[in-house]
Protein backbone atom coordinates (compact mmCIF):
# COMPACT_ATOMS: atom_id res chain seq x y z
CA UNK A 1 0.00 0.00 0.00
CA UNK A 2 2.63 2.50 1.05
CA UNK A 3 4.86 1.18 -1.72
CA UNK A 4 2.26 1.93 -4.36
CA UNK A 5 1.49 5.25 -2.74
CA UNK A 6 5.12 6.28 -2.88
CA UNK A 7 5.55 5.06 -6.45
CA UNK A 8 2.42 7.00 -7.35
CA UNK A 9 3.59 10.13 -5.62
CA UNK A 10 7.04 10.05 -7.18
CA UNK A 11 5.51 9.45 -10.62
CA UNK A 12 3.25 12.45 -10.16
CA UNK A 13 6.22 14.52 -9.01
CA UNK A 14 8.23 13.53 -12.10
CA UNK A 15 5.32 14.40 -14.38
CA UNK A 16 4.84 17.72 -12.60
CA UNK A 17 8.57 18.43 -12.98
CA UNK A 18 8.53 17.75 -16.70
CA UNK A 19 5.30 19.75 -17.01
CA UNK A 20 6.89 22.67 -15.20
CA UNK A 21 9.91 22.48 -17.50
CA UNK A 22 7.57 22.42 -20.49
CA UNK A 23 5.73 25.54 -19.36
CA UNK A 24 9.02 27.32 -18.71
CA UNK A 25 10.28 26.23 -22.14
CA UNK A 26 7.23 27.73 -23.81
CA UNK A 27 7.52 30.99 -21.87
CA UNK A 28 11.23 31.07 -22.66
CA UNK A 29 10.56 30.70 -26.38
CA UNK A 30 7.96 33.44 -26.31
CA UNK A 31 10.22 35.91 -24.54
CA UNK A 32 13.38 35.05 -26.47
CA UNK A 33 12.39 37.20 -29.43
CA UNK A 34 12.75 40.20 -27.09
CA UNK A 35 16.47 39.51 -27.11
CA UNK A 36 17.03 40.44 -30.75
CA UNK A 37 19.10 43.60 -31.05
CA UNK A 38 16.91 45.32 -33.67
CA UNK A 39 13.30 45.30 -32.48
CA UNK A 40 13.90 43.85 -29.02
CA UNK A 41 15.35 45.38 -25.91
CA UNK A 42 18.96 46.57 -26.07
CA UNK A 43 19.28 45.65 -22.37
CA UNK A 44 18.48 42.02 -23.16
CA UNK A 45 20.84 42.03 -26.10
CA UNK A 46 23.66 43.36 -23.94
CA UNK A 47 22.94 40.72 -21.29
CA UNK A 48 22.96 38.08 -24.02
CA UNK A 49 26.35 39.17 -25.33
CA UNK A 50 27.71 39.06 -21.79
CA UNK A 51 26.34 35.54 -21.37
CA UNK A 52 27.91 34.50 -24.68
CA UNK A 53 31.28 35.64 -23.40
CA UNK A 54 30.88 33.90 -20.05
CA UNK A 55 29.39 30.59 -21.11
CA UNK A 56 30.88 30.42 -24.59
CA UNK A 57 34.37 31.88 -24.76
CA UNK A 58 34.99 31.09 -21.12
CA UNK A 59 34.34 27.40 -21.76
CA UNK A 60 36.38 27.22 -24.98
CA UNK A 61 39.78 26.20 -23.53
CA UNK A 62 38.48 23.46 -21.27
CA UNK A 63 36.11 22.12 -23.94
CA UNK A 64 39.01 21.88 -26.41
CA UNK A 65 41.30 20.31 -23.85
CA UNK A 66 38.82 17.65 -22.74
CA UNK A 67 37.67 16.82 -26.25
CA UNK A 68 41.26 16.64 -27.49
CA UNK A 69 42.12 14.23 -24.70
CA UNK A 70 39.00 12.21 -25.49
CA UNK A 71 39.94 12.05 -29.17
CA UNK A 72 43.41 10.83 -28.29
CA UNK A 73 42.02 8.23 -25.88
CA UNK A 74 39.68 6.98 -28.60
CA UNK A 75 42.59 6.71 -31.02
CA UNK A 76 44.74 4.75 -28.58
CA UNK A 77 41.98 2.42 -27.48
CA UNK A 78 40.68 1.84 -31.00
CA UNK A 79 44.19 1.61 -32.40
CA UNK A 80 45.15 -1.17 -29.98
CA UNK A 81 42.27 -3.30 -31.26
CA UNK A 82 42.44 -2.38 -34.94
CA UNK A 83 46.19 -3.02 -35.14
CA UNK A 84 45.59 -6.71 -34.48
CA UNK A 85 43.66 -6.88 -37.74
CA UNK A 86 46.14 -4.70 -39.58
CA UNK A 87 43.43 -2.09 -39.95
CA UNK A 88 45.04 0.73 -38.04
CA UNK A 89 44.00 3.28 -40.67
CA UNK A 90 40.38 2.80 -39.61
CA UNK A 91 41.27 4.84 -36.54
CA UNK A 92 40.49 7.78 -38.82
CA UNK A 93 36.89 6.60 -39.24
CA UNK A 94 36.57 5.74 -35.58
CA UNK A 95 37.73 9.11 -34.29
CA UNK A 96 36.02 11.18 -36.96
CA UNK A 97 32.62 9.57 -36.69
CA UNK A 98 32.47 9.11 -32.91
CA UNK A 99 33.72 12.62 -32.17
CA UNK A 100 31.29 14.23 -34.57
CA UNK A 101 28.18 12.23 -33.84
CA UNK A 102 28.64 11.50 -30.20
CA UNK A 103 31.57 12.60 -28.11
CA UNK A 104 31.91 16.19 -29.31
CA UNK A 105 28.36 17.21 -28.33
CA UNK A 106 28.38 15.08 -25.17
CA UNK A 107 31.74 16.29 -23.82
CA UNK A 108 30.73 19.89 -24.56
CA UNK A 109 27.47 19.38 -22.70
CA UNK A 110 29.24 17.88 -19.69
CA UNK A 111 31.65 20.81 -19.47
CA UNK A 112 28.89 23.39 -19.94
CA UNK A 113 26.73 21.70 -17.29
CA UNK A 114 29.61 21.85 -14.84
CA UNK A 115 30.48 25.45 -15.61
CA UNK A 116 27.14 27.07 -16.40
CA UNK A 117 24.24 24.79 -15.45
CA UNK A 118 25.18 24.89 -11.79
CA UNK A 119 25.86 28.62 -11.86
CA UNK A 120 22.48 29.36 -13.52
CA UNK A 121 20.67 27.62 -10.67
CA UNK A 122 22.90 29.18 -8.00
CA UNK A 123 22.48 32.67 -9.45
CA UNK A 124 18.71 32.48 -9.80
CA UNK A 125 18.28 30.54 -6.56
CA UNK A 126 20.15 33.24 -4.65
CA UNK A 127 17.94 35.88 -6.25
CA UNK A 128 14.85 33.93 -5.18
CA UNK A 129 16.09 33.72 -1.59
CA UNK A 130 16.96 37.43 -1.40
CA UNK A 131 13.53 38.36 -2.86
CA UNK A 132 15.21 39.82 -5.96
CA UNK A 133 13.01 37.74 -8.24
CA UNK A 134 9.92 39.04 -6.43
CA UNK A 135 11.31 42.56 -6.76
CA UNK A 136 11.58 42.02 -10.51
CA UNK A 137 7.99 40.84 -10.71
CA UNK A 138 6.79 43.73 -8.57
CA UNK A 139 8.43 46.09 -11.08
CA UNK A 140 6.50 44.43 -13.90
CA UNK A 141 9.68 42.79 -15.24
CA UNK A 142 9.22 39.17 -16.28
CA UNK A 143 11.94 37.07 -14.58
CA UNK A 144 11.87 34.56 -17.45
CA UNK A 145 12.54 37.28 -19.99
CA UNK A 146 15.03 39.10 -17.77
CA UNK A 147 17.02 36.14 -16.49
CA UNK A 148 16.36 33.13 -18.71
CA UNK A 149 15.99 34.51 -22.24
CA UNK A 150 19.52 36.02 -22.52
CA UNK A 151 21.03 32.77 -21.23
CA UNK A 152 18.93 30.73 -23.63
CA UNK A 153 19.75 32.74 -26.73
CA UNK A 154 23.43 32.89 -25.77
CA UNK A 155 23.41 29.11 -25.29
CA UNK A 156 21.72 28.51 -28.65
CA UNK A 157 24.53 30.46 -30.33
CA UNK A 158 27.43 29.17 -28.28
CA UNK A 159 26.59 25.45 -27.93
CA UNK A 160 27.04 24.77 -31.67
CA UNK A 161 30.25 26.83 -31.68
CA UNK A 162 31.62 24.96 -28.68
CA UNK A 163 30.60 21.64 -30.21
CA UNK A 164 32.39 22.46 -33.46
CA UNK A 165 35.48 23.37 -31.43
CA UNK A 166 35.18 20.12 -29.48
CA UNK A 167 34.83 17.99 -32.61
CA UNK A 168 37.73 19.78 -34.27
CA UNK A 169 40.08 19.35 -31.35
CA UNK A 170 39.11 15.68 -30.96
CA UNK A 171 39.83 15.03 -34.61
CA UNK A 172 43.10 16.96 -34.49
CA UNK A 173 44.17 14.87 -31.51
CA UNK A 174 43.40 11.77 -33.58
CA UNK A 175 45.65 13.27 -36.26
CA UNK A 176 48.44 13.46 -33.72
CA UNK A 177 48.06 9.72 -33.17
CA UNK A 178 48.12 8.79 -36.87
CA UNK A 179 51.08 11.10 -37.46
CA UNK A 180 53.18 9.09 -35.06
CA UNK A 181 51.83 5.59 -35.73
CA UNK A 182 51.01 5.68 -39.46
CA UNK A 183 53.43 8.43 -40.44
CA UNK A 184 50.47 10.18 -41.98
CA UNK A 185 50.67 13.94 -42.52
CA UNK A 186 47.99 16.10 -41.01
CA UNK A 187 46.72 17.19 -44.42
CA UNK A 188 46.20 13.63 -45.59
CA UNK A 189 44.57 12.73 -42.28
CA UNK A 190 42.11 15.61 -42.46
CA UNK A 191 41.23 14.85 -46.05
CA UNK A 192 40.60 11.22 -45.12
CA UNK A 193 38.43 12.33 -42.20
CA UNK A 194 36.34 14.60 -44.44
CA UNK A 195 35.76 11.69 -46.77
CA UNK A 196 34.50 9.55 -43.90
CA UNK A 197 32.08 12.15 -42.55
CA UNK A 198 28.75 12.71 -44.23
CA UNK A 199 26.36 15.62 -43.89
CA UNK A 200 24.10 13.58 -41.61
CA UNK A 201 26.87 13.29 -39.02
CA UNK A 202 27.33 17.02 -38.89
CA UNK A 203 23.60 17.76 -38.79
CA UNK A 204 23.04 15.27 -35.98
CA UNK A 205 25.93 16.83 -34.10
CA UNK A 206 24.39 20.30 -34.35
CA UNK A 207 20.92 19.05 -33.42
CA UNK A 208 22.37 17.44 -30.33
CA UNK A 209 24.18 20.65 -29.43
CA UNK A 210 20.92 22.62 -29.65
CA UNK A 211 18.94 20.04 -27.66
CA UNK A 212 21.60 19.69 -24.97
CA UNK A 213 21.90 23.47 -24.65
CA UNK A 214 18.14 23.77 -24.23
CA UNK A 215 18.18 21.14 -21.48
CA UNK A 216 21.08 22.79 -19.65
CA UNK A 217 19.55 26.28 -19.59
CA UNK A 218 16.05 25.17 -18.70
CA UNK A 219 16.97 22.66 -16.00
CA UNK A 220 19.48 25.09 -14.46
CA UNK A 221 17.03 27.99 -14.39
CA UNK A 222 14.09 25.82 -13.32
CA UNK A 223 16.02 24.48 -10.34
CA UNK A 224 16.96 28.05 -9.46
CA UNK A 225 13.39 29.37 -9.63
CA UNK A 226 12.22 26.50 -7.44
CA UNK A 227 14.62 27.22 -4.59
CA UNK A 228 13.05 27.37 -1.17
CA UNK A 229 14.61 27.29 2.27
CA UNK A 230 17.45 29.78 2.14
CA UNK A 231 21.14 29.27 1.31
CA UNK A 232 20.94 25.51 1.93
CA UNK A 233 18.32 25.33 -0.80
CA UNK A 234 20.63 27.20 -3.21
CA UNK A 235 23.41 24.65 -2.76
CA UNK A 236 21.00 21.78 -3.12
CA UNK A 237 19.54 23.25 -6.30
CA UNK A 238 22.98 23.61 -7.90
CA UNK A 239 23.66 19.93 -7.25
CA UNK A 240 20.23 18.95 -8.53
CA UNK A 241 20.74 21.04 -11.66
CA UNK A 242 23.97 19.19 -12.48
CA UNK A 243 22.62 15.71 -11.78
CA UNK A 244 19.31 16.22 -13.59
CA UNK A 245 20.96 17.95 -16.56
CA UNK A 246 23.44 15.10 -17.03
CA UNK A 247 20.66 12.55 -16.78
CA UNK A 248 18.41 14.37 -19.25
CA UNK A 249 21.28 15.07 -21.66
CA UNK A 250 22.25 11.39 -21.75
CA UNK A 251 18.60 10.42 -22.17
CA UNK A 252 18.15 12.89 -25.02
CA UNK A 253 21.40 11.64 -26.56
CA UNK A 254 20.13 8.09 -26.47
CA UNK A 255 16.84 9.06 -28.10
CA UNK A 256 18.49 11.20 -30.76
CA UNK A 257 21.03 8.49 -31.58
CA UNK A 258 18.33 5.84 -31.79
CA UNK A 259 16.28 8.13 -34.01
CA UNK A 260 19.15 8.70 -36.43
CA UNK A 261 20.02 4.99 -36.42
CA UNK A 262 16.46 3.95 -37.21
CA UNK A 263 15.24 6.66 -39.56
CA UNK A 264 18.19 8.30 -41.24
CA UNK A 265 20.85 5.71 -41.98
Amino acid sequence: MTFFASVGRSTIEKIAYVGGLGIQFWKGLRSSYRVNPITGSRLRWRATVEQMAVLGFGAMPVVCLISGATGLIMAFQGGAELRQFGALQFVINLVGVSMTRELGPLMTAIVVIGRSGSSFSAEIGTMVVTEEVDALRSMAIDPIEFLLAPKYVAMMVMMPCLTIAAVTSGILAGGLFTYFTLDMSLGVYLRATLEVLVLRDIISSMIKAIVFGTIIVHVGCFEGFQVAGGPVGVGRSATAAVVKSIFLVVLADLMATAFFYLFWQ
Partner: protein
Protein backbone atom coordinates in the same frame (compact mmCIF):
# COMPACT_ATOMS: atom_id res chain seq x y z
CA UNK B 1 -15.65 59.15 -11.33
CA UNK B 2 -19.16 58.32 -12.46
CA UNK B 3 -21.20 55.68 -10.67
CA UNK B 4 -21.20 53.35 -13.69
CA UNK B 5 -17.42 53.28 -13.95
CA UNK B 6 -17.08 51.90 -10.44
CA UNK B 7 -16.52 48.16 -10.22
CA UNK B 8 -19.65 46.48 -8.81
CA UNK B 9 -17.62 44.86 -6.04
CA UNK B 10 -16.55 48.29 -4.82
CA UNK B 11 -19.96 50.04 -4.82
CA UNK B 12 -20.56 49.35 -1.14
CA UNK B 13 -17.11 50.55 -0.19
CA UNK B 14 -17.29 54.23 -1.21
CA UNK B 15 -15.89 56.92 1.04
CA UNK B 16 -16.75 60.52 0.13
CA UNK B 17 -18.08 59.09 -3.11
CA UNK B 18 -14.71 57.59 -4.02
CA UNK B 19 -14.02 53.86 -4.33
CA UNK B 20 -11.00 52.51 -2.45
CA UNK B 21 -7.72 52.47 -4.34
CA UNK B 22 -6.96 49.07 -2.84
CA UNK B 23 -9.73 46.79 -1.69
CA UNK B 24 -9.03 43.39 -0.15
CA UNK B 25 -12.14 41.24 0.05
CA UNK B 26 -12.57 37.92 1.88
CA UNK B 27 -8.96 36.88 1.34
CA UNK B 28 -8.10 33.33 2.36
CA UNK B 29 -4.53 32.05 2.11
CA UNK B 30 -3.35 28.65 3.18
CA UNK B 31 0.15 27.10 3.20
CA UNK B 32 -0.23 23.35 3.48
CA UNK B 33 -2.49 22.81 6.46
CA UNK B 34 -1.75 26.24 7.87
CA UNK B 35 -4.48 28.86 7.41
CA UNK B 36 -2.54 32.13 7.36
CA UNK B 37 -5.23 34.55 6.18
CA UNK B 38 -8.81 33.68 7.04
CA UNK B 39 -11.05 36.21 5.41
CA UNK B 40 -9.20 39.51 5.37
CA UNK B 41 -11.23 42.58 4.43
CA UNK B 42 -9.49 45.92 4.09
CA UNK B 43 -10.10 49.11 2.10
CA UNK B 44 -7.34 51.62 1.49
CA UNK B 45 -8.33 54.93 -0.09
CA UNK B 46 -6.34 57.25 -2.35
CA UNK B 47 -3.89 59.55 -0.58
CA UNK B 48 -4.04 57.94 2.84
CA UNK B 49 -1.33 56.17 4.78
CA UNK B 50 -2.47 52.82 6.11
CA UNK B 51 -0.40 51.04 8.70
CA UNK B 52 -0.95 47.31 9.08
CA UNK B 53 -0.01 46.11 12.55
CA UNK B 54 0.40 42.54 13.63
CA UNK B 55 2.73 40.19 15.42
CA UNK B 56 5.49 38.26 13.75
CA UNK B 57 4.06 35.43 11.71
CA UNK B 58 0.56 36.92 11.73
CA UNK B 59 0.57 37.04 7.92
CA UNK B 60 1.41 40.68 7.20
CA UNK B 61 3.91 39.87 4.48
CA UNK B 62 1.53 37.31 3.05
CA UNK B 63 -1.16 39.99 2.84
CA UNK B 64 1.20 42.40 1.07
CA UNK B 65 2.34 39.70 -1.35
CA UNK B 66 -1.28 39.08 -2.27
CA UNK B 67 -1.91 42.79 -2.73
CA UNK B 68 1.05 42.89 -5.12
CA UNK B 69 -0.24 39.69 -6.78
CA UNK B 70 3.09 37.96 -6.16
CA UNK B 71 1.06 35.09 -4.68
CA UNK B 72 -2.38 33.80 -5.57
CA UNK B 73 -4.91 33.48 -2.73
CA UNK B 74 -6.91 30.31 -2.14
CA UNK B 75 -10.01 32.47 -2.41
CA UNK B 76 -11.00 36.10 -2.24
CA UNK B 77 -10.21 39.18 -4.28
CA UNK B 78 -7.86 42.12 -4.32
CA UNK B 79 -8.98 45.15 -6.33
CA UNK B 80 -6.44 47.79 -7.20
CA UNK B 81 -7.78 50.83 -9.05
CA UNK B 82 -10.86 48.75 -9.79
CA UNK B 83 -8.92 45.82 -11.31
CA UNK B 84 -9.11 42.42 -9.69
CA UNK B 85 -5.39 41.52 -9.60
CA UNK B 86 -6.13 37.95 -8.50
CA UNK B 87 -7.68 37.12 -11.86
CA UNK B 88 -6.69 39.80 -14.36
CA UNK B 89 -4.54 38.94 -17.41
CA UNK B 90 -0.80 39.46 -17.33
CA UNK B 91 -0.77 42.70 -19.35
CA UNK B 92 -3.26 44.36 -17.04
CA UNK B 93 -1.32 43.20 -13.99
CA UNK B 94 1.82 44.60 -15.54
CA UNK B 95 0.13 48.00 -15.94
CA UNK B 96 -1.08 47.93 -12.32
CA UNK B 97 2.37 47.05 -11.05
CA UNK B 98 3.88 50.07 -12.76
CA UNK B 99 1.86 52.36 -10.50
CA UNK B 100 3.00 50.50 -7.39
CA UNK B 101 6.38 50.84 -5.75
CA UNK B 102 7.52 48.25 -3.24
CA UNK B 103 10.21 48.29 -0.59
CA UNK B 104 10.72 44.71 0.55
CA UNK B 105 11.49 43.62 4.09
CA UNK B 106 14.99 42.57 3.01
CA UNK B 107 15.35 45.61 0.67
CA UNK B 108 15.81 43.10 -2.20
CA UNK B 109 18.40 45.17 -4.04
CA UNK B 110 19.93 43.44 -7.07
CA UNK B 111 23.28 42.50 -5.62
CA UNK B 112 25.04 42.15 -8.96
CA UNK B 113 24.21 45.72 -10.03
CA UNK B 114 25.37 49.06 -8.68
CA UNK B 115 22.96 51.12 -6.60
CA UNK B 116 22.54 53.50 -9.54
CA UNK B 117 21.68 50.65 -11.92
CA UNK B 118 19.21 49.29 -9.37
CA UNK B 119 17.32 52.58 -9.25
CA UNK B 120 17.60 53.07 -13.01
CA UNK B 121 16.38 49.57 -13.85
CA UNK B 122 12.61 50.30 -13.94
CA UNK B 123 13.29 53.43 -16.01
CA UNK B 124 15.45 51.54 -18.48
CA UNK B 125 12.92 48.74 -18.70
CA UNK B 126 9.72 50.72 -19.00
CA UNK B 127 10.65 54.06 -20.56
CA UNK B 128 12.47 55.16 -23.66
CA UNK B 129 14.31 57.95 -21.87
CA UNK B 130 17.84 58.74 -22.99
CA UNK B 131 20.66 57.54 -20.81
CA UNK B 132 21.72 61.01 -19.52
CA UNK B 133 18.12 61.68 -18.47
CA UNK B 134 17.94 58.35 -16.69
CA UNK B 135 21.16 59.08 -14.88
CA UNK B 136 19.86 62.46 -13.77
CA UNK B 137 16.58 60.98 -12.56
CA UNK B 138 18.46 58.29 -10.68
CA UNK B 139 20.48 60.94 -8.87
CA UNK B 140 17.28 62.84 -8.06
CA UNK B 141 15.52 59.78 -6.66
CA UNK B 142 18.54 58.92 -4.53
CA UNK B 143 18.74 62.50 -3.29
CA UNK B 144 15.06 62.36 -2.33
CA UNK B 145 15.78 59.52 0.07
CA UNK B 146 18.86 61.24 1.43
CA UNK B 147 21.46 59.27 -0.49
CA UNK B 148 23.90 61.07 -2.75
CA UNK B 149 27.09 59.92 -4.38
CA UNK B 150 26.41 56.21 -3.90
CA UNK B 151 25.43 55.45 -7.51
CA UNK B 152 28.58 53.51 -8.24
CA UNK B 153 28.63 51.46 -5.06
CA UNK B 154 27.32 47.91 -4.87
CA UNK B 155 24.39 47.27 -2.50
CA UNK B 156 26.67 45.13 -0.34
CA UNK B 157 28.80 48.20 0.31
CA UNK B 158 25.87 50.07 1.89
CA UNK B 159 24.75 49.87 5.51
CA UNK B 160 21.36 48.35 6.32
CA UNK B 161 19.65 51.72 6.62
CA UNK B 162 21.17 53.02 3.40
CA UNK B 163 20.15 49.89 1.56
CA UNK B 164 16.58 50.39 2.79
CA UNK B 165 16.67 53.98 1.54
CA UNK B 166 18.08 52.88 -1.80
CA UNK B 167 15.25 50.39 -2.16
CA UNK B 168 12.78 53.22 -1.51
CA UNK B 169 14.50 55.26 -4.22
CA UNK B 170 14.07 52.33 -6.61
CA UNK B 171 10.40 52.03 -5.61
CA UNK B 172 9.98 55.75 -6.35
CA UNK B 173 11.66 55.55 -9.74
CA UNK B 174 8.46 55.24 -11.76
CA UNK B 175 6.60 57.89 -9.69
CA UNK B 176 4.14 55.34 -8.29
CA UNK B 177 0.69 56.15 -6.98
CA UNK B 178 0.98 53.54 -4.26
CA UNK B 179 4.06 52.90 -2.16
CA UNK B 180 4.24 49.69 -0.15
CA UNK B 181 6.67 49.10 2.71
CA UNK B 182 7.22 45.77 4.41
CA UNK B 183 8.69 46.45 7.87
CA UNK B 184 10.71 49.49 6.82
CA UNK B 185 12.61 49.66 10.10
CA UNK B 186 13.12 45.94 10.71
CA UNK B 187 16.68 45.16 11.69
CA UNK B 188 17.72 48.81 11.97
CA UNK B 189 18.87 50.58 15.12
CA UNK B 190 16.39 53.09 16.62
CA UNK B 191 18.16 56.17 15.26
CA UNK B 192 18.34 54.86 11.71
CA UNK B 193 14.75 53.62 12.03
CA UNK B 194 13.62 57.09 13.09
CA UNK B 195 15.34 58.43 9.98
CA UNK B 196 13.30 56.05 7.82
CA UNK B 197 10.10 57.20 9.57
CA UNK B 198 11.05 60.79 8.79
CA UNK B 199 11.63 59.82 5.19
CA UNK B 200 8.15 58.30 4.96
CA UNK B 201 6.57 61.42 6.47
CA UNK B 202 8.57 63.51 3.99
CA UNK B 203 7.29 61.38 1.09
CA UNK B 204 3.71 61.79 2.30
CA UNK B 205 4.05 65.55 2.34
CA UNK B 206 5.97 65.83 -0.90
CA UNK B 207 3.99 63.45 -3.11
CA UNK B 208 0.61 62.83 -1.43
CA UNK B 209 0.98 59.19 -2.35
CA UNK B 210 -1.06 56.33 -1.02
CA UNK B 211 1.23 54.50 1.36
CA UNK B 212 0.77 51.05 2.86
CA UNK B 213 3.15 50.12 5.65
CA UNK B 214 3.49 46.90 7.56
CA UNK B 215 5.17 47.21 10.92
CA UNK B 216 5.15 46.10 14.50
CA UNK B 217 6.79 49.31 15.70
CA UNK B 218 4.03 51.11 17.58
CA UNK B 219 5.94 54.36 17.82
CA UNK B 220 6.50 54.77 14.11
CA UNK B 221 2.98 53.52 13.39
CA UNK B 222 1.48 56.39 15.40
CA UNK B 223 3.88 58.84 13.79
CA UNK B 224 3.04 58.07 10.18
CA UNK B 225 -0.44 56.53 10.06
CA UNK B 226 -3.62 58.21 8.87
CA UNK B 227 -5.47 55.00 9.62
CA UNK B 228 -4.27 51.72 10.94
CA UNK B 229 -5.50 48.19 11.22
CA UNK B 230 -4.49 45.14 13.13
CA UNK B 231 -4.06 41.65 11.76
CA UNK B 232 -4.51 38.81 14.19
CA UNK B 233 -5.06 35.10 13.56
CA UNK B 234 -5.70 35.71 9.88
CA UNK B 235 -8.30 38.43 10.31
CA UNK B 236 -8.36 42.21 10.58
CA UNK B 237 -9.60 42.64 14.14
CA UNK B 238 -9.57 46.42 14.25
CA UNK B 239 -9.36 49.24 11.75
CA UNK B 240 -9.61 52.98 12.25
CA UNK B 241 -7.81 56.23 12.91
CA UNK B 242 -5.07 56.40 15.52
CA UNK B 243 -7.55 57.74 18.07
CA UNK B 244 -10.09 55.04 17.28
CA UNK B 245 -7.49 52.32 17.72
CA UNK B 246 -6.19 53.84 20.92
CA UNK B 247 -9.68 53.80 22.43
CA UNK B 248 -10.39 50.29 21.18
CA UNK B 249 -11.78 47.89 23.74
CA UNK B 250 -10.52 44.81 21.89
CA UNK B 251 -8.30 42.89 24.30
CA UNK B 252 -5.75 41.96 21.60
CA UNK B 253 -5.42 45.54 20.40
CA UNK B 254 -5.00 46.79 23.96
CA UNK B 255 -2.38 44.15 24.60
CA UNK B 256 -0.46 45.12 21.48
CA UNK B 257 -0.63 48.84 22.22
CA UNK B 258 0.46 48.36 25.82
CA UNK B 259 3.19 45.87 24.87
CA UNK B 260 1.95 43.27 27.35
CA UNK B 261 3.19 39.70 27.08
CA UNK B 262 0.76 36.86 26.40
CA UNK B 263 -1.16 35.16 29.18
CA UNK B 264 0.51 31.82 29.98
CA UNK B 265 -2.46 29.73 28.79
CA UNK B 266 -2.66 31.49 25.41
CA UNK B 267 -1.46 29.23 22.61
CA UNK B 268 -0.92 32.04 20.09
CA UNK B 269 2.60 33.31 19.36
CA UNK B 270 4.00 35.96 21.63
CA UNK B 271 3.60 39.32 19.93
CA UNK B 272 6.20 41.31 21.77
CA UNK B 273 9.05 38.87 22.00
CA UNK B 274 8.03 36.65 19.11
CA UNK B 275 10.34 38.15 16.51
Amino acid sequence: MSETAIHPALRNHLRDGQPPLISVQDLFVQFGDRQVLQGVNLDIYGGETMVILGGSGSGKTTLLRNIMALDRPNSGHVYIKGVDVTTCPAEELSAIRRVMGVSFQSAAMFNSMTVGDNVALPLREHTKLAEPTIRLMTQMKLAQVGLSGVEDLLPSQLSGGMRKRASVARALAMDPEVLIFDEPSAGLDPIIAAGIDELIVHLQEAFKMTIVIVTHEMHSAFLIADRMCMLHRGKIIAVGTKEELQSSTNERVRQFLERRADEPDDESPNFVTGF
